[in-house]
Symmetry: C2
Subunit: 281 residues, 2 copies
């Protein structure tokens, strides 16, 4: 199959490796000539160009640009494509993307492969990045069955775990387990830095250990990524934050009331429930 | 030197190994006969007994019992000791312990070695547990200089990083970097479990990855430990929680207001400040 990839970064480049190794003919487009050259030299794509028209020949196109560029790039791309071309994206928020593209392109399916590393760019691309990782697809009522089947087949061929849901469900789920932790974690760093006694602050910095390290990790990550989550998934994230605040207030209340039985009960419940979320990979 | 250890668990047992290897004569007391036998068989102590009077011969005694037993055990122990005996404890909260013991025993110095593992008990004890780890001592104005010097010397001999501060400063610092993360992290698990849409909850559990895993780790730990922190460090923890809540509300406000520049600024600051707390060990 001829498969196009628009955006040759970590995700696009990694997709290219796996799709080529399955015998697909991979056409890549990047904004930078140098990235095109690197992608070809590395063997992530068969052909690459800075010209969108290269993708006219593709049967399926993966949009792997940064999230802000997905909608404008697809709008441009449409001019080059026959209506049979299947388009799917890899953006980490789905509702605004599906709402913008689905009405304009019938054969569009939102997607979100939940695989990533701390690195980015074509140099960070790797083979088998998606193996065992979740890959969410968010078709809607109007998406043609054939298009869904074809994208599903490709996703399965990557070794990913396929989940299908509505864009809104995806966005609520990731707001809880991915975007909320960033804000919760960032607020922890922020609160500690807000300590007004300089000696206590210095001591806190000296004594911080693995507990602080793990809880603060995602709050100390790329600021642009955190802003992007908040921008694109604003309402779901605000709901999650309000939900979080209520649960935090319950903990505060239990401690204020010296309700140690109640607190132990809550902590037993969190300890019991955490394994439902972790330890799968 | 004859050194006593009351409580032969992870910390007491590990102390025993290191002190014996330096040539000290280590006397251990545990509530259980079987623990005494194990500690001797493992080589963590020279002698062990369930009888507090064994410690009468010690020049320095480390109290390594669970935090709730420190004060009552020291009160009993005092009856067996000459007033020259130096007592120090390893409890993770210092103010209530120092306030209870210091007026009754001049040669008392609060201590907190910040070394631990997920395991507990004499079987979990290990050599060099304290190397490179913080070890806080909290003498007060009335603590004799000689007593401080002797305990300091022992702490340094363990390879630990020595910090000296007031009990209240210690408790504020650990409330920020150790006790607050537990509540922040537990509230995250709690908020996610509070999701009322069963499909979204299931999806969240399927999609949760390393970000959720790290941020939720300490909130899914031993409930008794979390309750102990809250009980013994209640006021400092409540202050930290209120401080945290204010910073969380700032994040919520920035997102509500769509103040993306402000949010990016905050996240840049958390990213810049996190390394001041982590990466030391």
């Amino acid at each position: 199959m001829k498969i196009g990839i628009l955006g040759l970064g970590l995700i696009g480049g990694s997709l290219g490796y796996d799709l080529r190794s399955q015998g697909h003919d991979v056409l890549g487009v990047s904004r930078r000539e140098s990235t095109c050259e690197k992608a070809m030299a590395l063997g992530s794509v068969d052909q690459a160009s800075i010209d969108l028209s290269l993708l006219a020949a593709a049967e399926v196109i993966f949009i792997c640009t940064p999230i802000a560029l997905i909608v404008p790039q697809v709008q441009q791309l449409m001019n080059y494509l026959p209506i049979s071309t299947i388009i799917t994206d890899v953006g980490s928020v789905k509702t605004p993307i599906v709402e913008a593209i689905a009405p304009a392109w019938e054969n569009f399916i939102g997607g979100h492969p939940m695989a990533g590393t701390a690195d980015s760019g074509i140099e960070a691309a790797q083979r088998n990045l998606f193996v065992g990782r979740p890959y969410v697809l968010t078709p809607d009522m109007t998406t043609p069955k054939t298009a869904i089947l074809i994208v599903e087949q490709i996703v399965r061929s990557l070794g990913a775990k396929l989940y299908i849901c509505q864009p809104e469900q995806h966005d609520r789920a990731v707001s809880l387990i991915s975007h909320l932790p960033v804000m919760v974690s960032a607020a922890l760093i922020s609160a500690c830095m807000g300590e007004t006694d300089a000696q206590v602050l210095q001591l806190a910095q000296n004594l911080a250990s693995s507990g602080f390290q793990d809880t603060s990790r995602v709050g100390g990550g790329h600021p642009e990524l955190g802003v992007m989550m908040a921008q694109y998934n604003r309402q779901a994230l605000l709901n999650s934050l309000q939900q979080y605040r209520q649960h935090l207030d319950e903990f505060i209340y239990l401690i204020e009331q010296e309700n140690w039985v109640g607190l132990e009960c809550k902590l037993q419940s969190t300890g019991k429930n955490r394994p439902k979320f972790v330890g799968k990979f």
